[in-house]
Amino acid sequence: MKIDESQILRVAELARLDLGDDEKKEFSTQLSDIISYVEKINELDTADVAPSDHIVELKNVFRADTVLPSIDRAALEKIAPRFEDGHVVVPIIIEGQE
């Protein structure tokens, strides 16, 4: 299956990625190759197999509503790209009214 450039653009938009022209071509080729490879699975006849939501035969794995210690805030601060006044700082999300 061919993944064309418009599909690449759509995925890039969803992922908030800005791709150059070379990258669009490169990813289009790469993703097409990957999908074609995986497409082989379509050769299997699954007409008699019920769809499954889950691959492990487990159900009802629950926990009790008991509070456990959270991690130290300093640990979060360490892995956050930017941290101020107890908060993770990110580029502004909503720019307000048009």
Binding site: H54, L58, F62, V67, L68, P69, S70, L76, V90, I94
Partner: protein, 476 residues
């Protein structure tokens, strides 16, 4: 051309469990920012979420109370989107196999009763909270992950709502039911209940729906009502002017009382739902559901009907008293003391509610049920008049004092001594010869004035019935 609105509501109710839905972090609301997180709710690699069974039970309770069918098989899915307050870049939710399907809420607007259909109720995790910097030069947002992973029940209505008043009634009833169940605090200001509106207009009397618009960001039921009214006007104007309605998300601006379009970039979503591989399916049997059903309390509609049947209350009284569970409990505690049910209702609805901002907080009110019952007994046994009782109640509400002591301290005991009342009556008759003459010449109104004067002279303490009798005797 005339248009009619078609409205559906999506309500997110935070379930009041002690811990988050998939990890043991506390859900306490007022904790310091980012102090209630762990590798699971932060979405760090290699962690395994495990479902909090209490969240499941509470969702089932809510579903049962909304007349839903509880699914014996349900599962979780990943809803993918990018947002800074969603650290995993997907939200664990339920897509095609939610825990509760169908159902309805009965509402009343004016005298008309109507059933609003429920499409589904599903479990999901909450996202974190972003605060946007007020300094426009900074261009940053601050993210707090304490809320990330708090259990939510999302309740989706059918597009059965036809006006802002119906939407308001639906939300009120939904909130009352959740509060009765004690599954959520339902505090819109704290965000434990949130509501999004889907609204479109169509030509009146036709079937096809118009293009729908989603409205978010309302922080009170009143704001929801206002946003709907604004949107009906905006869309009516647009359609009447030959414009097309864009499918979009709009935000409510409380300061300007209007909705505005969210930037379309924020809406570029394709959730790409797929089954959550880390959470096995939930498969429950009828016994499990029945055990939860047996935990359900009496619900508002049932209680309202019982108040009418058992206490002979007018439906209006029953509706007001049962609108909050603590108030209904308070009322029944008063009645249990042997007080006349209608009298108890009058006192609560008039005197008590006037002094209480939120009926939910009646447990903290200075006058508790036993005290109100003693006060009403003081009226019944003639110790004080109904009028004086209001003064006593005022004092009780202010100080939390006991009615009998207040009556004693302030010397408010009703005067039922005939000679004492006669003395006052004589004084009043002597001082108001014109009124006496008026009465004798057939002006019945003068009697009311004289009674008033006697009551005033006795500082409200004379037994009104005796005053009437003695006056009549002396005037004839």
């Amino acid at each position: 051309m005339e248009f009619e609105p078609v409205i559906g509501l999506e309500v997110h109710v935070q379930l009041n469990t002690a811990t988050k839905i998939f990890c043991g972090c506390s859900t306490r609301f007022k904790a310091d920012a980012n102090t209630q997180t762990c590798p699971v709710c932060l979405g760090l690699p290699g962690v395994l979420p495990v479902l909090n069974e209490e969240a499941l039970r509470k969702a089932i309770m809510a579903g049962l109370a909304l007349n839903s069918t509880i699914a014996t098989y349900s599962k979780f899915d990943r809803k993918n989107y990018f947002y800074p307050d969603l650290p995993k870049a997907y939200q664990i939710s339920q897509y095609d196999k939610p825990i509760c399907l169908g159902g309805f809420i009965e509402i009343k607007t004016g005298d008309a009763a109507k059933k609003i259909g429920i499409t589904r109720l599903h479990l999901e995790e909450d996202a974190g909270k972003s605060i946007h910097s007020e300094d426009p030069g900074k261009k940053v947002s601050y993210v707090n992950f304490n809320r990330t992973g708090v259990p939510l029940a999302e309740i989706v209505s059918e597009p059965d709502i036809a006006s802002s008043d119906e939407a308001y009634a639906y939300l009120q009833n939904l909130k009352t039911i959740m509060k009765y169940l004690e599954v959520s605090d339902c505090n819109m200001e704290e965000g434990s209940l949130r509501c999004d509106v889907n609204i479109s207009l169509r030509e009146k009397g036709t079937r096809p729906f118009g293009q729908k618009v989603e409205i978010k960001n309302m922080n009170s039921f009143r704001a929801v009502k206002m946003a709907i009214e604004f949107e009906i006007q905006r869309q009516t104007r647009a359609l009447s002017g030959g414009e097309r309605i864009l499918q979009e998300t709009r935000l409510w601006d409380a300061n300007r009382s209007e909705t505005f379009s969210m930037r379309s970039k924020e809406e570029a979503h394709d959730y790409r739902y797929f089954p959550e591989p880390d959470l096995p399916p939930v498969m429950i049997d009828q016994a499990y559901i029945d055990a939860i059903r047996s935990r359900l309390p009496e619900l508002p509609a049932q209680r309202q009907a019982r108040f009418v049947a058992e206490y002979g209350l007018p439906p209006y009284d029953a509706e007001v008293l049962t609108a909050s569970r603590p108030m209904a409990d308070y009322y029944e505690a008063v009645v249990k003391e042997g007080v006349n049910p209608k009298k108890a209702s009058n006192w609560i609805m008039v005197e008590l509610m006037a002094r209480l901002d939120d009926p939910e907080n009646v447990q903290a009110f200075n006058v508790q049920p036993l005290q109100l019952a003693s006060l009403l007994r003081l009226i019944d046994d003639g110790t004080i008049s109904g009028k004086i009782a209001k003064t006593v109640f005022e004092e009780m509400a202010r100080t939390g004092g006991d009615p009998a002591s207040i009556v004693k301290e302030k010397g408010l005991v009703q005067v039922t001594d005939t000679s004492a009342i006669e003395e006052v009556v004589d004084r009043v008759l002597a001082g108001n010869p014109q009124s006496v003459a008026d009465f004798r010449s057939g002006k019945g109104k003068a009697l009311g004035f004289l009674v008033g004067q006697v009551m005033k002279e006795s500082r409200g303490k004379a037994n009104p019935q005796m005053v009437n009798e003695i006056l009549m005797k002396k005037l004839s």
